[in-house]
Symmetry: C2
């Protein structure tokens, strides 16, 4: 059984796997449907059966990326420890994903501000922010986060962590490690988020 026989059972999945490898190794720009078809051992016209065009394949790749990233953040944020620890873990999960999937992250966040981006893709991306909203709302419930619109706070938090991820993948760090910068950003946020009187978050930060 040759690999092309094997793949023929599930060409769509095979193309996605090959595409992710290609994105990882040579970048999005260099990804070609014809080369993918050659790698999969099918004709150059075969991919069109599974993806309407090149963008549809990239959308599917980005969607899978958002799902993996979301699961990783949720796992970190839904822990049992103190708020500050969960918060820090979630940030590290995000930046860790960015480091390991730099090209994919770039694809995920450039694809949606094009005309006619799939609604499913935008929806999945938005759900990532909602995970942070939930984390912050839970922090407010525990008295660790100052009251206020958790959605707005979540946007700022998301922006900060995403910005850290991009600085990292963009190679603008100049000696600082990704993990150190993430901790610095979390420190700044933890200094700003808690209610002024509450010391709980700060204590947890010292332990975590």
């Amino acid at each position: 059984m040759t690999s092309s026989d094997y793949h023929r059972q599930n060409l769509r999945g095979t193309l996605l796997e090959l595409a992710e490898q290609t994105v990882r190794t040579v970048g999005v720009e260099a990804l070609s449907l014809r080369q993918l078809a050659r790698d999969a051992g099918v004709s150059h016209a075969a991919p069109a059966r599974h993806f309407r065009d090149r963008r549809a394949l990239l959308d599917a790749l980005a969607l899978a990326g958002f799902e993996r990233l979301g699961a990783s953040i949720d796992a970190a944020a839904a822990g049992e420890g103190p708020f500050a620890v969960r918060f820090r873990d979630a940030a590290h999960a995000y930046v860790g994903f960015a480091v390991e999937n730099a090209e994919l992250l770039g694809l995920m966040f450039t694809i949606k501000h094009e005309e006619g981006a799939s609604a499913e893709l935008v929806e999945t991306a938005r759900r990532g922010i909602e995970s942070i909203v939930a984390l912050l709302a839970r922090g407010q419930g525990e008295g660790e986060v100052a009251p206020g619109d958790p959605e707005r706070l979540a946007q700022v938090v998301f922006a900060t962590v995403h910005g850290v991820a991009l600085l990292v993948t963009g190679g603008l760090l100049d000696g600082t490690t990704a993990s150190d910068l993430t901790d610095s950003a979390v420190d700044v946020l933890l200094r700003a988020l808690p209610v002024p009187s509450g010391e709980g978050a700060r204590a947890a930060l010292a332990e975590g």
Copy 2:
């Protein structure tokens, strides 16, 4: 005198102008050297005289973008007002640039983490962070910012503002305006940056 006669005196500049318009209207992906040559009224091989390849043209475009962005931030940060006002103005300058040049910003920050990015481009991008370092160091000198490595603080600040810019251009805002989110992010940073005892920054924030 036809436009091609005019342009022939400065084809490089003409191509850059046309390229920026193209990026703005149809996006980076859709930019083709051959179409650019047609728009400029020259043969498809002419651009090669001025740009070694497609990427060299995009690099030049990104470089011009970083220079404009840097000038805009510097103008805001070098003002005479209180620290918090200069800080807020610089953040708004950054996000404003992002809103008006969304596609260009994306190009600016994707191009450098490719192999063989021009050193000049990386250097110009880095200078943007240095502007923020200088602003924060000046804030420390005025007692408005807690002591500590200003470079590290600047990276966090830059990450936050850049993240806000990307949330905005990425269309993940959902009703919040770019300016409002920028203010929220600045509020968070101004709550975290000042020395705990100093009230100067908070007072300036209330005025600004």
